[in-house]
Symmetry: C2
Subunit: 271 residues, 2 copies
């Protein structure tokens, strides 16, 4: 048993889709979330800047006594997880490995689609993990840099002509390649699940990176006897780097529930 909280961070609020899954699987766990809303998005920035920001995010979260750390951000998981693991003495979970493994387990025709930010695609991280497990896999990848601003501007509903147009523009080559699995390689993308799923068709399984990392964290904590005690009162504490105004409304969309807990702004540049 380990009563200490789990730290979770993302460039913005997309990582709340992972928190949602963590809380659903392990309601006794305490979660401390940091969203770098003052500097979102990360996915179009250079690897060097992503690493600098990720180190600050981790430094802030380590001001709490954590039992593990979850990088609920496809971009940071792709660009910096190896380096952060070497620098930090606690278990760090990213979205790439569990999500890639799930995609390999699900495909029947070895044709896997991958959508993510520019930085994630450029890193080649998903390809490396997928090919290590399934050298026969063919991967059809597309950077979808407009999906994050579309989600953050509430353009997620089927029928919205803008999101429908962008989905068609980005995903037509992947659909036409005949993939049977599509990795949603950014934690913002589960909010587009319905519109993406309709476009790809029912024969294509969508793999949600937030759900996969939550599953992996639960498995690891269980295997290492580090789960919270049954009956512990779980819950979340929220920290952001921009103003907290508007946080509750947008966060509720990602979390799928109203946000009652306090939210606090911190100066991430100090870390």
């Amino acid at each position: 048993m380990d009563p200490r909280p789990i730290g979770v961070f993302d460039s913005g609020l997309g990582g709340l889709t992972a928190v949602r899954e963590l809380a659903a699987r392990m309601p006794e766990e305490r979660i401390i979330y940091f969203g770098d809303t003052g500097r979102v998005p990360y996915g179009s920035r250079s690897r060097e800047t992503i690493i600098k920001y990720a180190r600050q995010d981790v430094a802030f979260l380590r001001s709490f006594d954590l039992k593990s750390l979850v990088i609920a951000c496809g971009t940071v998981s792709s660009a910096a997880i190896g380096l952060l693991r070497r620098e930090q003495d606690l278990p760090i979970f990213g979205v790439v490995e569990p999500t890639a493994h799930r995609a390999v387990a699900l495909t029947r025709n070895n044709r896997i689609g991958l959508i993510a930010t520019h930085a994630t695609i450029a890193s080649g991280a998903y390809e490396r993990v997928i090919r290590a497990r399934d050298p026969e896999a063919q991967i059809f990848a597309a950077a979808c840099p407009l999906f994050v601003p579309l989600v953050e501007n509430g353009r997620t509903r089927p029928g919205d002509v803008v999101i429908e147009t962008v989905v068609r523009d980005y995903l037509t080559p992947i659909r036409d390649a005949g993939v049977d699995v599509l990795v949603l390689g950014c934690t913002h993308y589960p909010l587009l699940r319905e519109v993406i799923g309709r476009f790809m068709g029912p024969q294509v399984a969508l793999v949600d990176s937030g759900a996969e990392v939550a599953h992996e964290v639960g498995r690891w904590l269980s295997e290492h006897d580090a789960l919270a005690a049954p009956g512990q009162v779980g819950g979340c504490r929220w920290y952001v780097s921009d103003s907290t105004a508007g946080f509750r409304d947008l966060a509720a969309v990602f979390l799928g529930r109203p946000v009652a807990e306090p939210v606090e702004q911190i100066d991430i540049e100090r870390y």
Copy 2:
């Protein structure tokens, strides 16, 4: 005569549309440009964070001996120019005043359209300046938060189905209101001039905030005998807060010419 350089900054590279106009009008002037590419965009952030970032941008530029400062960013001009002017002892030019005055001068039916970022629209800055000069003016405003990511992802050409769809979605109410002037209230938007112009029709004049602030700076320097000496060799120095890789390609799009001068990355969080 004043040989010292003009400092120009923007949240990213949109401000280069103002530099382009400054250099075209005053080729003898030396320009020092800072683009906060590590934290772009500003337009969806809180006023408090915009002010914090703008102060850092100004502090960096003031490490040079400048004769004036240009805020080539609609968001900062709207949210922070009064405050920055009180804090700084050099002439500061923003895009809002000259652009609003030009719109008032151009309209014949007193129906003025305004497109800009969320923060600019929310500030009410354009409305205040327009109404002060033309109390009869009716202003039809729309926040266009997807235009900046679209421009930064190269989605600017007529015929691109995504930009055409977004333009129609944002601008239909303004076109239907019968405006005869449309203010492009963000320095990224001149790259959308062709697609916006085609949608609005030839009867609507587009006012480019980069061009207007360049005109204003030239007029002020001339009136205050602060222009560079004829024959001074002008030119630009470029500074950014993210990696310099890729700067030349994107900057050339905004500048309308190849970028030959050196570009340097700085740590804006230190300022």
